[in-house]
């Protein structure tokens, strides 16, 4: 059993309320941080090696140090709670059950960055979570941890909630800032980066909910203590939201030294695949990362055990690896059809593409159309190559990473499951009546380099 640092108090009754949270040692990090200088707080975060939990895994301390600090211009911290990635629900869990952890992290981080007005941009669908957070902010304000002159230190910090209106693209940081300003959520062309010109042209840092929450244990126990957990450059614990064909889906806080096999099959975590089915494939980090077949998921191409961390999951690049992403762990058993699965992702990205730049607007539509054709038994062999060609022209050519996110799952599905796409072409009748694909991927296959 690993030591939990984010969800250690989540089981305590009424932890949602300020009184209980405070009694259990909450808001200690604010008290501690206010006695330090902002640079010392930043130094602790740098020492911890904390990496952004939103998907890209960019070191948080480095991101904070890029923040421009011109005189007389206010700076802002924006918390990205627009968790719209299919398969990811870790932030919702954290915000719903232990909202004060996020507020505490917001105040501490705001102090380090010198932000007097901070925002939590939450997705519109999380309506009830937004109410919980607003209540938590009001409670913290009554007790003097948010607002003017926090604990008599002279530091002001207001935290505001902002509800999104249900667009996936608003999870991209510059689109989020546009939406926060009240405009249409279209990603901006970078540079200038948000650290220089963010919301209302002011320097802004955008961080994920889990990243900001992780600042609390870093300040409480020190950055070195945090860096001891985990392995290599993947320090600390990570929240994983497991779903799909699992006995015990849910949110788990894991040490990043855990192997993927143990995570799926041990009773402490997901408890294996239901009905004695075999593991076929898995998307280890939310819908936008490449899918991996079972043989490559449990072992890397070099034959090492794959661990649940940034480096190990991306071992082998996109040829034989995937990405940590945002921690949405989607497991498919032997009865699931990869083509159908890819179609449902392509449909999602087609719908959510903002339509600003051409490769993504047109390309996602094409991916959706071709995959629909294949899935409904009208496909040709040439469609598979066409699909490959279309995804290749999206990746890397777009303003924001949504284009990449739409292209990668399709590319990986064709790369690892080409037989299944071909089976859909050769067995047109069967793929209409039978709603699942080929099971043979679940058989153990020897991995060659």
């Amino acid at each position: 059993m690993i030591k939990k640092i984010l969800l250690d108090k989540v089981h305590i009754e009424c932890i949602r309320h300020f009184g209980v949270y405070r009694r259990e040692g909450g808001y200690r990090s604010v008290e501690k941080a206010l006695k330090m200088t902002p640079d010392e707080v930043l130094e602790e975060v740098k020492k911890s090696g904390l990496r952004g939990r939103g998907g890209a895994g960019f070191p948080t301390g480095l991101k904070w140090s890029f923040l421009a600090k011109p005189d007389g211009v206010p700076r802002h911290l924006v918390c990205n709670a627009d968790e719209s990635e299919p398969g990811t629900f870790k932030d919702r869990y954290l915000m719903e059950f232990i909202p004060h952890l996020l507020i505490e992290g917001m105040v501490t981080s705001s102090y380090a960055l010198g932000s007097n007005v901070s925002y939590i941009y939450i997705r519109g669908e999380y309506d009830w979570v937004c109410d919980i957070l607003e209540e938590a902010i009001a409670e913290a304000k009554q007790n003097g941890f948010v607002g003017k002159n926090i604990l008599g230190s002279g530091f002001d910090c207001e935290v505001y909630m902002h509800r999104g209106a249900g667009a996936y693209i608003c999870g991209e940081e510059t689109a989020l800032l546009e939406s926060l300003e009240g405009k249409r959520g279209l990603p901006r062309i970078k540079p200038p980066f948000p650290a220089v010109k963010g919301v209302w042209d002011r320097p802004t840092v955008v961080n994920n909910v889990e990243t900001i929450a992780a600042v609390v244990p870093i300040i409480n126990d020190g950055g070195d203590e945090f860096a001891k957990i985990g392995v290599g450059k993947s320090t600390g614990t990570k929240l994983i939201s497991a779903c799909g064909n699992l006995n015990k889906p849910g949110v788990y806080e894991i040490d990043m030294n855990l192997s993927v096999e143990e995570f799926i099959f041990s009773d402490e975590y997901c408890g294996g695949i239901p009905n004695g089915k075999r593991l076929k494939a898995c998307i280890p980090g939310g819908s936008s990362v490449p899918i991996l077949p079972a043989n490559l998921l449990l072992k890397t191409a070099k034959g090492e055990t794959r661990l649940m961390n940034y480096e190990s999951l991306s071992d082998g690049g996109f040829l034989t690896g995937s990405m940590m992403g945002s921690g949405g762990f989607i497991v498919l058993d032997e009865d699931q059809c990869v083509v159908r699965h890819t179609l449902s992702l392509a449909r999602f990205y087609h719908h959510e593409s903002c339509g600003q730049c051409s490769p993504c607007r047109e390309g996602t539509g094409w991916l959706h159309k071709i995959l629909t054709k294949l899935e409904t038994g009208k496909g040709e062999m040439s469609d598979i190559d066409l699909l490959w060609d279309v995804q290749r022209r999206i990746e890397g050519n777009t303003i924001c990473p949504l284009g990449d996110a739409a292209a990668w799952p399709v590319a990986a599905a064709i790369r690892h499951f080409r037989d299944e796409f071909e089976w859909h072409v050769t067995n047109r009748e069967e793929c209409l009546t039978r709603n699942f694909g080929l099971a043979h991927y679940a058989d153990p296959i020897e991995v060659g380099v």
């Binding site: 220089v196 051409s358 050519n397």
Partner: protein, 88 residues
């Protein structure tokens, strides 16, 4: 890199040209000639803030400058990227 304060030397497809600071890659390429300039659809020089959307003018920047520490080579929209980028 620059000899004059305001002039910057840039090399596009092996042809070197001097352009004033703040010129976009597209305009620098257009100074050389149509055989070098990438196609551009959504960029209209008289309309401020246009460009960067259609992605037909993507060019590969082979070598970055000291002012732009991003890893190169990288595909950028030439109509919205200044030669020798000062932003970061």
């Amino acid at each position: 890199m620059s000899e004059d304060q305001n002039l910057i030397k840039v090399t596009i497809d092996g042809i070197t040209v001097d352009v004033p600071e703040g010129t976009t890659i597209l305009n620098a390429a257009r100074q050389i000639g149509p055989e070098v300039a990438p196609p551009a659809m959504c960029y209209y020089s008289k309309l401020e803030g246009s460009g960067g959307k259609c992605r037909t003018c993507l060019v590969e920047v082979a070598e970055g400058s000291t002012k732009d520490p991003r890893p190169m080579p990288k595909l950028v929209a030439s109509c919205r990227t200044n030669v020798m980028d000062e932003w970061w």
